[in-house]
Amino acid sequence: MDWCFASSRGEWIASAVMAVPSQLGGLDATVPLSLPGPAILAQYLVFAVLLGGIYGLVALGLTMIFGVMDVINFAHGALMVVAMYALMTASRMSGVSPFLLIPLAIALLFILGVGIYRATIAPIIDAPQENQLIVTFGVLLILTSIVQILFGSDPQKLELGLGSFRVAGVFVPEGQLYALIIAVIALAATWLFLQRTMVGRAIRGTADNRDGAQYVGIDVPRVDMLTFGIGAALAGLAGAVVPLFQSITPSLGDQYLINAFVVVVLGGLGSFPGAFVGGLVIGFIQVFGLAFLEGSTYQILIFLVFILVLLVRPEGLLGGASDG
């Protein structure tokens, strides 16, 4: 797409929709808008990056399934929740550090993902998209209910005794930092897997050209199954790092899910680096929106940006870089 064209259209929409937040600003009378000091700004920046990284990690599995199979996995958040509670329970029962149990959560979720694929997605992979959406929604209901019944809805916290680092007056919470590091490692590992292994290439090939894939002998249904499994495993990884910095509830997955949708579309369907770019965009909007806008107004901004990107660049910020 011609960029000039896109951006001029974008400006037009931007000017049309920006009328709304400026009115909101008018109501924002209680908190005067003054720029805080550099230390505070740096603090915001750190939080934005940390939050963005985690959002990126949360979106990885979703974008993978979306990109390869063209399925919107509504159960993504619920899969995260399963991993959170699995990790918590395993850690409490065994007394082993939760960091060491993360692979366990990933493996469990991979198996769960493969099971879900075989039971629900495989039979209707060629059906209309809305049917797949409803089916994953059904899975969401089932998983969330089971977790709720087993663990109750009390918020639970993993007692890790993690604190924070202080660097030049800026606090870096350990939990989030580790989560971010794990996220980056996960990104790198998944990226390497997809780039450097035959299976990874097969997955990318299938995402690129499902027809072409079968002509070179790629068993497409098998790749789908694997993709769903890996997508679920990535949800598991994301879920497993959340208890490092946050108290968990069975409904926590829903909160992450909506953000993950936004991130996936912002970054571009199926694009891994895009997921992190999208995550960072949302992280920045959320942190700075909370800092300078009233209430949860920043959410409005997130959805405006989301709609804007959908309209002028539906392939996402990093997706489908065209050569034209």
Binding site: T30, V31, Y44, Q148
Partner: protein
């Protein structure tokens, strides 16, 4: 307790699977309500009840042997953790009354609880109320989440069954409506804000400390916003300026909000949120090595809940909270708390205490009415004064619109990771430490 539950479910299952509407329960309800308007909303119950004569006749004869309280709480869904304990509070109050010999004025009639799960869904508020009424509830209590409570009041009003709200803070449930069958012993959101804005500055200033500025931390839903709105009015009226307002959504962390507080540096941070968000707030404060001179919660159940306090740890120590609470000066209240913790092995927090107190109001009304007839009970509720209850508030008595005239949200302080009432003096169990 366990037996009772099994019994309850098995009877209900029979209802479900056989398809017989209401069976015995309906008849109990019919007789109880004098049969005047119970048929209005439900064409089926009468006929099917008639067809089941054996159970019907026994129930009719023994109607005064038993009074049924319907407990309508979220037993599943995201509010279930509190909802289940609130339901247990109702059961405990009933259990203890029965142990003392039942309703005296009815010749020792036993009380029975039937429970319904509204899942915290507005659609189910009225539905579950109706089911409970159909199953024979003579009086109702519930429902925690305000839209659910609101839906339940409608059904209660239609069916002419009194509803004594256990916990539900939204002002408008009673204040914007014209209900004849709904009562709320607990302070409304507005009442809590007013009490908090008055009691907190007073106690701080009495101790010779300053409180000129405050930052509000609230969950950005109805509950948080309505307390925020009251505090916006009432804090300045008590010479406290609001210098920061920070919202939090479900499932968010509170890092940015705490940075904002650090930046604004208020004398007090007042949190109005659920347990998870309050834990996030204190966690973020720990992470940023920040603790406001005064930390307070307004209508914040986390500040009254032992397990939550333990999760929050030292940062919570010394924090203040305004919420309905157990009367620390009453030894009976202490007994109830101990009994509850033994019986159900879970925390007796403010919501649970308030539910217990509401059930006490119901029991007192039944006792005073000497009748299981909902209208009789309702008449009594309109004029009752309940002095003997476990909540830290003066005698409960209702105004025209069903609000408790003397509702009070006392101020308590976290000391040794337990919540202790420190104001007003009448209920104070200990002195504040500042």
């Amino acid at each position: 307790m366990q037996d009772q539950q099994t019994d309850r479910f098995s009877r209900r299952d029979f209802v479900k699977y056989s398809g017989v509407t209401g069976v015995a329960g309906v008849l109990a309800g019919c007789t109880g309500s004098g049969g005047d308007d119970s048929g209005a909303g439900d064409g089926g119950s009468g006929e099917s009840g008639d067809s089941d004569e054996s159970s019907g006749s026994t129930e009719t004869e023994s109607a005064v042997d038993e009074v049924v309280i319907g407990s309508n709480h979220p037993l599943s869904g995201s509010l279930a953790n509190t909802g289940v304990r609130m339901d247990q509070a109702v059961q405990l109050a009933v259990m203890m009354k029965n142990e003392q010999g039942g309703i005296e004025s009815l010749g020792g009639a036993q009380l029975r609880t039937i429970s319904g799960d509204n899942q915290g869904e507005q659609e189910l508020g009225g539905e579950v109320a109706q089911e409970l009424i159909d199953e024979g509830a003579n009086v109702l209590t519930g429902c925690y989440s305000s839209p659910v409570t609101s839906a339940a009041t409608r059904t209660a009003e239609q069916e002419g069954i009194p509803l004594v709200i256990s916990v539900s803070v939204a002002n408008s449930i009673l204040q914007d409506t014209n209900l004849n069958y709904a009562y709320r012993p607990q302070p409304s959101a507005r009442r809590m804000g007013i009490d908090h804005a008055r009691l907190l500055p007073n106690i701080v200033r009495d101790a010779g400390q300053e409180i000129q500025t405050a930052g509000l931390f609230y969950i950005d839903i109805s509950f948080g916003q309505s307390i925020r709105d009251t505090l916006r009015e009432e804090l300045p009226a008590n010479d406290v300026e609001i210098v920061a307002e920070e919202a939090i959504g479900f499932g968010d962390t509170a890092d940015t909000q705490v940075t904002n507080f650090r930046d604004a540096d208020p004398d007090a941070v007042i949190a109005t949120s659920y347990r998870a968000e309050t834990i996030e707030l204190l966690n973020a404060m720990d992470n940023q090595d920040y603790r406001p001179p005064i930390l307070a919660g307004c209508s914040n159940a986390a500040m009254n809940d032992v397990s939550a306090l333990e999760q929050m740890g030292e940062t919570a120590e010394g924090g203040f909270g305004t919420n309905f609470a157990l009367d620390p000066t009453s030894s009976r209240a202490g007994d109830v708390r101990t009994r509850f913790e033994e019986e159900f092995d879970s925390g007796f927090d403010a919501n649970v205490a308030m539910t217990y107190a509401s059930t006490e109001v119901i029991i007192a009304a039944i006792e005073e009415a000497g009748s299981a007839d909902p209208d009789d009970i309702n008449d009594v509720l309109g004029s009752i004064t309940v002095e003997d209850h476990i909540a830290a508030m003066p005698p409960i008595t209702f105004t025209e619109n069903g609000e408790n005239e003397n509702s009070l949200a006392p101020l308590h302080q976290v000391q040794d990771l337990r919540d202790r009432v420190v104001a007003p003096e009448k209920f104070a169990e200990t002195d504040p430490s500042l």
